[in-house]
Amino acid sequence: MAEHLLRVENLMRRFGGLVATDNLSLEVVTGELHAIIGPNGAGKTTLISQLTGQLMPNSGAIHFAGQDITTLPSYKRSGLGLARSFQITSLLRDFTAADNVALAAQAHAGHSYRFWGNARKEAPLREAAHAALARVGLAKRADVPVSELSHGEQRELELAVALATKPKLLLLDEPMAGLGVTESQRMVALLKELRKEVTIVLVEHDMEAVFALADRITVLVYGRVIACGKPDEIRNNDEVKRAYLGDQHAVTRHG
């Protein structure tokens, strides 16, 4: 039996009358790439936010690497090896690409109550940053401010920032959002490489990418898990077909 890196039990999250996460249970095995799909409004981002601690569940439990992290604030979860990328690019816009990544490395290399030495001259941090940037193909753009990077480059930078925290589990919230065809292909190739090193939970609308990458897929509809299994099982699952056929938008856009 493979080890569970992440175990979610009976998670509930309501927003007023709306149940965004409805008694959701989920297990992520060490080493797998686990995709989470579902029509718009299925509660995918809400789930990710609860996993990383930006949002607290009303009830239920989250275990990560054998530890109950349900009530842990996000900065502590990051310390345990949980990293996320944001669906809407969330970077430090007035910093350079290298600074963004170096700060992520800094968060995991000793404390930051150091007031004197120049942090931009700390070689280990800079090297870690450049390694992560090289990983995602941004080595040459290291000293460019984020606000001057293209959208595609910002998506790659999101990934580099997450990688620099040396995560055990990478939660990627629609890394392909807004990317063109070639950029998407590059991202898929990149994820194929990364999955060899780190366990990944991938939330994505791009079905082609999901089926190309995932070991297992969980399907969410209205905050509930309606199916979980290998890509082939999901493809042939009647309930999944119904959920997607019922949602014309999802079919025409991603079908």
Partner: protein, 315 residues
């Protein structure tokens, strides 16, 4: 970019050189007044620089920064009144009292953001103002006269105008050097990261509010030093030093000079206080001219004077 950097550097170098040589000019021309005026400017520049650390670099719009001027000043004034004249006691007490005050109001107000943060820092400063007004033993509303300046033994004589001026200038330049180190340190990058995107900083593993609080305390402590200097400069401390309009003045100096630039607050303080001085000589309604002038600068020079200098040299 390179040339922009140069013009700013030239202006800053000229200003610093001017400040260093000012006592010489004052002595040669016999204009004592200018030395007194610039002593005050330098002290308030230090206060503005400390505010810039949280406002410009930390993104915390504190509207109660003058409280530390009062706390630092009252620490000196009260100790002097009670017969403790040594600066080696007075000044550390001023710094510690300011740090503690910053720790308490920071811990409470940093739970809020935006307008609420502005209002709550304002409220705390006003509270300090009213407390000072009710200290009947220490002059209450009328304030407290300090009959002897802080005594540093034979080391320095603060009653000597020139020596006091250089002590203030050393504090200002030392304070700016400290801020420069902080801003480029690990700690400083985290604080600026939190200003830019708090959620992101939490997600990569930083306890954002704790860094904010430490920054808030450092800033308050530096301003407490300015308070101790100010009380020595005027030989007097009163609740009026921490009135909210003074906090507003400090904010204007920072914005005028250029938020988040090292020397912006110094330039801002010089321009603001010189304008105040000049305009008040022309008319007692000087605020009517000052107001629109500031409005123009905020509207057309977003980065303040430092931003303007950068734009000029870029052409």
């Amino acid at each position: 970019m390179k040339s922009a950097f140069n013009l700013r550097t030239i202006v800053v170098a000229l200003v610093v050189a001017g400040l260093v040589l000012l006592p010489v000019y004052s002595a040669l021309t016999g204009k004592v007044f200018i030395l007194t005026m610039f002593t005050r400017i330098i002290i308030l520049a230090l206060a503005a620089a400390s505010l810039n650390l949280i406002m410009g670099y930390g993104g915390m719009m504190s509207f109660g920064h003058a409280a530390y001027l009062g706390i630092g000043g009252y620490a000196v004034g009260i100790l002097a009144f009670e017969g403790i004249g040594s600066g080696f006691i007075q000044w550390p007490v001023a710094l510690i009292a300011s740090a503690l005050f910053a720790l308490v109001i920071g811990a409470l107000s940093l739970r809020t953001r935006g307008v609420y943060f502005i209002m709550i820092t304002l409220a705390f400063a006003q509270m300090a103002y009213y407390i000072a007004s009710s200290l009947s033993r220490y002059g209450a509303d009328d304030g407290l006269t300090i009959y002897k300046r802080s005594n540093f033994g034979g080391l320095i004589d603060l009653s000597n105008r020139t020596q006091f001026y250089y002590v203030c200038l050393a504090c200002l330049l030392g304070g700016i050097y400290l801020i420069w180190r902080i801003v480029n340190s690990r700690f400083g990058l985290v604080v600026q990261g939190v200003r830019s995107n708090e959620q992101r900083m939490q997600a990569i593993g930083f306890h954002a509010n704790r860094y904010r609080l430490v920054c808030f305390v450092i800033s308050g402590t530096i301003c407490g030093l300015a308070g101790a200097l100010l009380a020595n400069n005027t030989d007097f401390v009163s609740p009026a030093v921490m009135y909210w309009t003074r906090s507003g003045d400090l904010m204007v100096m920072v914005i005028l000079g250029g938020m988040g630039t090292l020397f912006g607050p110094v330039i801002g303080a010089i321009v603001f206080l010189l304008l105040e001085e000049l305009l008040s000589q022309i008319t007692e309604y000087w605020a009517m001219i000052m107001g629109p002038l500031l409005l123009l600068i905020v509207l057309f020079a977003r980065g303040g004077i430092m931003g303007l200098l950068a734009r000029f040299s870029r052409g």
